[in-house]
Symmetry: C2
Subunit: 179 residues, 2 copies
DNA sequence: AATCTAGGTTGCAAATCAGTACTTAGATTA
DNA sequence: TAATCTAAGTACTGATTTGCAACCTAGATT
């Protein structure tokens, strides 16, 4: 498993976090467990019946995800037989990835939006398509992208220059939170 | 494998595309192959040396990805021994998912931005963090989300009402392409 | 004609998965 | 308080999948 990491980080000029991410949550069932957890599932037997995974595999995955800091494991106070699994911030931060994957499936596989629909609780409207954006919020397609070496980055990319652009953009769209 | 799909689509009120997506590109190595393809790799032997996968597994994955419509397979004209694998639109559309996963790894695992850096070719600045947004472009965090049943959607969600809001937002941020 | 190359296929051992039975600590019930 | 039940695992089994190396075949090169 660790061979993936070795292999790729040893390639010159190609130090990518993708293989590392995959090592942690790329295993079978991890995303399904994540989805269940996001839907409020927190107990072993509930994961079991919700996603139809084998007991031993579920135990293994939960252990690994706790070790990876994606979930916490805490025995319940009122019933000490029970254990509560809960997503950490790190785990919650996988939500965009999960939604993106789900939206891809909606678009290219099932063809229909999943029900129930994920909405913005502020206005109760469906959330938008997840996509790549420039620093200033423009949506980017694949052909708009290029790979630039760290050392050759446009100076505007760091320091006050960029901050200004971001701040200006946030004002334009009335944004409050910065990711 | 198809059991995942059966299992979940049979759960009442829970028809989600995630398991379907995972069936297609959830297998080990698929994302790594995707990444290589995005970096311009197109030949069997190149995938092999780039990602350190076994021959038979690579052959299997490429076949499956072609069947799934993620890649095309075309013998080269000038050298008929060679085959060119190329991402379809469907395959390219997995890019946001992949970037999101990579960014997650940068944030929570490696701690450093991958090099070279993925940039907007227009201004050569690094692309922004991939995140969830409301229909009008506001960035949404997990606690801003809720699940709403299809039948209970706010009427503004479809028809002219929503279109207007989207168009207005696009004008605000000077956006040209709609995903 | 002999060799080399790209893109596979085949066979085999090791690892992982899936399914079921068993275990153990703690709650509930008779 | 003993018998039962429940939640969360562990252990054992066979089936799949993986990784590795050897082999194969059509087409290019020498």
């Amino acid at each position: 498993m660790d061979k993936i990491r070795e292999n790729l980080s040893s390639l010159p000029g190609d130090e990518c976090s993708l293989p590392v991410s995959l090592e942690v949550i790329g295993e079978r069932w991890c995303f399904m467990i994540l989805r269940a957890a996001l839907n409020g599932v927190g107990h072993f037997e509930d994961f079991l019946s919700e996603i139809g995974i084998a007991r031993n595999i579920l135990a293994n995955r939960l252990t690994r995800m706790v070790e990876a800091g994606i979930m916490t494991r805490r025995p319940c106070d009122h019933d000490k037989r029970k254990v509560e699994y809960r997503l950490t911030d790190k785990g919650q931060d996988l939500l965009p990835t999960m939604i993106a994957l789900r939206q891809w499936g909606e678009k290219w596989e099932t063809g229909v939006p999943s029900n129930p629909i994920l909405c913005d609780s502020r206005d109760r409207l469906p959330i938008g398509q997840i996509n790549m954006r420039a620093h200033d919020g423009r949506v980017l397609e694949m052909e708009d992208l290029c790979w630039i070496d760290e050392s050759e980055l446009n100076p505007k990319a760091d320091g006050a220059g960029r901050e200004d652009m971001v701040v200006r953009h946030l004002k334009e769209i009335g944004e409050s939170s910065v990711a």
